[in-house]
């Protein structure tokens, strides 16, 4: 069983303990764990020689980082301009209604986390939503239920 310090040191080594790579290190840690527990932030700070306050500042500044555990599936609704004019607010509202959580929240059974994103770069196919790695484009409001059903 490899502990937190093991996980962190493996990633920190990959970047040659370069402090400039703090964000990259946090991204890698998060992609493995799904979120950033406090112990991880402390450990990263310790191993890089960066004060915890700065690690915390970075982890809270960038939107991608989550300091709370996330659900098994991540639902992201694109709120880019192209999706917006094609009705993404109604898609967001529908997801919110079906999952019973607001953007930024995780369902109490830890099945879903729900986020809105600025743009996924699939502007020609809006409105667009992703569930984990799966893309769902040209959505209508009734499609949302069907798309989420598979993950329930």
């Amino acid at each position: 069983m490899i502990g937190i310090s093991g996980i962190v040191s493996k990633i920190v080594d990959k970047y040659q303990e370069d402090r400039g790579m703090l964000i990259q290190i946090l991204l890698d840690v998060q992609s493995g764990l799904g979120w950033l527990p406090k112990e991880v932030l402390t450990e990263v700070g310790k191993q890089l020689g960066v004060p915890l306050t700065r690690v915390y500042q970075v982890a809270t500044y960038y939107k991608v980082f989550s300091l709370a555990p996330r659900g098994r599936h991540l639902v992201r609704v694109c709120m880019g301009t192209a999706c917006q004019v094609r009705g993404s607010p109604l898609i967001r509202d529908r997801v919110q209604q079906l999952l019973g959580i607001e953007p930024g929240e995780t369902s109490s059974d830890m099945k879903f986390s729900f986020e809105t994103v600025n743009c996924l770069g699939c502007c020609a196919m809006g409105p667009m939503m992703t569930v984990d790695d799966g893309y769902h484009g040209h959505l209508t409001i009734p499609d949302v239920e069907e798309a989420l059903e598979k993950y329930k």
């Binding site: 500042q57 939107k63 301009t81 004019v85 600025n118 770069g121 502007c123 196919m125 809006g126 409001i141």
Partner: protein, 637 residues
């Protein structure tokens, strides 16, 4: 593959690649950018692969994945070479037929693009109106290249510009050529790239850095993603040429983590470029050294601003700073740093190869070359289009974009992302370049072009952009942080029917202060969407305030859903789909909405069959009282 150690070796390798390839050998290529993959191009690819095996044609027909072809609306796209037969909306089930048809040199009619006006089937890509009116220079090679195969890039002449620069030109000559080409930065402001390079070159301090900005944060723009995914080597080649001209030996590529495929393809390309000797020590035996690191952005819009981006690659929170000292003087780690956008770097090899005179022959007086726009929103042919600067909005939206869907009326087009503005119909014939767009209150930005029709509410759009900036503001300076909050509050009130007329003046006053007093461009330009909509669509603001009416029928508080009893055929579809059980009626009984239960989710409006078209949105008018129990009047078929 051993490193290439000289210019002669590179040409020898290129010849080898060329002699090994038969240009007449059939090749099926699948457009596999993120758009393509989101529409299922991977299963099409797999289908084709297994069909080639099943029909024992693997040796006779090539199969490859290329980058995005631009016509994303019609994805998944398949091209057959050498004929350039163009198939749209391909499904995995079509694989067998495609393979068969390539073998027999036939064409599958039903997969061809058919002209929506004439109904004529078009075989070749270049004959489709969407492509015919474009000039695809920077984005053009995407269709030839498998981005994970450096051989494809070399086959079409890749890295010849780098070789030319290192073997025949001094750094000053390269700089001179870029300055003569008058290449302006494609990322937003349109600052002359040559001047930026020169300032960095002449700045005191070593080392110097060069940086690629692929943080494409403007919602609605995705040309950088497409280039980085589809042709990463062109960006790398441009960067190395720039580094040589500037005298830099270390560079960065900053790319959004929201673009996983771009990150993946970039990393593969960097590895291959290093392996072949286009990066690293002693590039092509010239004695020039250059190394690149990749930084992924972690989801912060303002970090795409140059000073913020450089702070981000130092591993800190990417907040901007005052720029009275340019980044070209003091940027990354306080050293001279030259940052350009993906599209700008990618244009460099073309300018070197074809010359600044050629580049100058395209475009307008003040803006040379071509520009890639992402033509999206309420337009028929959505996708990426590359056109010479100076083309009019009308040509782009109607000739290339095929106009507005479902015969709706054009209302406006948004350019420049959250810093830009919304342009009204009366400017449709304005030639588009950096300066013209600024004149009419918007800006080029990175090239997002979001078309809006009569169903788009301009107040709601202004609120959308303000809320966007509100969330993305780093909070460092007060005009931006507080100004946006107040703007958002006022706009929300107007959208909810609580607006007051005198507040329109407050909007304008705050916008002026933000413009003058904000720290960085985000705050200084954030109010542009408000100012332009007030300028061109003031009547919509007034309708919201005075008549409590949303003319586009978007603002939830100001609309009511209503089922027209004359049109309703009691098909039960909306009734079954309504999540709150607000729809009453039944079999053979006209449906009606119990307004108290309605949450205005819009489902009934979307599911009502088009041939009935019974669900309506009302705004600013009384809702007719429902007649429960009314029997349906069947429409005569």
């Amino acid at each position: 593959m051993p490193r290439i150690n000289s210019f002669a070796e590179l040409e020898k390798l290129r010849e080898e690649i060329k002699t090994k390839r038969d240009p007449n050998k059939p090749c099926i290529s699948v457009s596999s950018g993120t758009c393509g993959r989101a529409s299922g191009s991977e299963s099409v690819y797999e289908g084709l692969q297994s069909q080639l095996e099943a029909q024992a044609l693997k040796g006779e027909i090539d199969l490859k994945r290329t980058g995005c072809l631009g016509f994303c609306e019609r994805a998944p796209l398949v091209m057959i070479y050498p004929e350039e037969t163009y198939y749209t909306k391909v499904k995995p089930e079509d694989a067998a037929e495609i393979v068969q048809s390539v073998k027999e040199k036939k064409i599958i009619e039903r997969l061809l693009y058919s002209d929506p006006v004439t109904g004529e089937k078009i075989v070749r890509e270049s004959d489709i109106p969407f492509y015919k009116n474009q000039q695809r220079i920077v984005s053009g090679p995407n269709r030839w290249i498998d981005p994970k195969n450096i051989g494809d890039y070399l086959y079409i002449g890749g890295y010849s510009a780098l070789s030319k620069v290192l073997s025949q030109m001094t750094p000053d000559q390269v700089l001179g050529e870029i300055k003569k080409a008058d290449l302006r930065g494609r990322g937003g402001g349109g600052f002359p790239a040559g001047r930026k390079w020169e300032e960095t070159k002449n700045a005191l301090g070593e080392p110097k850095y060069v940086i690629v900005n692929c943080d494409e944060g403007d919602p609605g723009a995705y040309m950088d993603r497409s280039l980085m995914e589809g042709n990463p080597h062109s960006v790398i080649e441009g960067l190395v040429i720039g580094a040589y001209a500037i005298g830099s030996h270390e560079g960065f590529v900053y790319v959004r983590q929201e673009y996983p495929l771009a990150v993946e393809n970039l990393n593969v390309a960097l590895e291959q470029a290093e392996e072949y000797g286009f990066l690293g020590e002693n590039i092509l035996g010239s004695g020039f050294n250059f190394h690149v690191k990749v930084h992924r952005g972690a989801g912060s819009f303002v970090s795409g601003e140059s000073s913020a981006l450089m702070t981000a690659i130092e591993g800190k929170a990417g907040e901007p700073r005052m720029k009275y000292v340019h980044m070209s003087q003091r940027g990354y780690k306080e050293k001279p740093s030259c940052l350009n956008n993906v599209e700008t770097w990618a244009a460099v090899p073309f300018i070197i190869n074809k010359g600044s005179d050629w580049f100058n022959s395209i475009g307008t007086e003040g803006s040379k070359g071509t520009k890639i726009f992402s033509l999206v929103g309420k337009v028929n042919n959505t996708g990426l289009v590359e056109v010479p600067m100076g083309m009019t909005l009308r040509q782009i939206i109607y000739d290339i974009g095929g106009g507005i869907p479902k015969g709706r009326k054009f209302k406006g087009v948004q350019t420049g992302g959250p810093s830009g503005g919304i342009i009204s119909e009366r400017y449709l014939d304005t030639p588009i370049d950096f300066d013209e767009l600024t004149k009419i209150g918007s800006m080029m930005g990175s090239g997002g072009m979001i078309v809006m029709d009569e169903d788009t509410c301009m107040v709601d759009m202004a609120r959308y952009f303000i809320n966007f900036c509100c969330e993305e503001s780093c909070g460092k300076c007060i005009p931006c942080r507080e100004g946006l909050r107040v703007l958002s509050g006022i706009l929300t009130d107007i959208c909810e029917g609580e607006g007051k007329e005198e507040e329109l003046q407050t909007l304008e006053r705050i916008a002026e202060v933000m413009k003058d007093a904000s720290l960085c461009a985000l705050g200084a330009t954030a109010a542009n969407p408000v100012l332009t909509t007030l300028r061109y669509f003031r009547d919509e603001y007034e309708a919201h305030i005075k008549d409590k009416r949303c003319p586009a029928k978007v603002c939830k508080n100001l609309i009511t859903y209503y089922i027209d009893p004359e049109k309703c055929q009691a098909c039960m579809i909306c009734l079954r789909n309504c999540p709150t059980g607000a729809i009453q009626g039944g079999k053979n009984l006209v449906h009606w909405i119990e307004q108290e239960k309605c949450i205005k989710c819009g489902i009934c409006y979307q599911v009502c069959p088009e041939r009935f078209d019974a669900v309506e949105k009302l705004s600013g008018e009384p809702v007719p009282a429902p007649v429960p129990g009314r029997e349906v009047v069947r429409k005569k078929e």
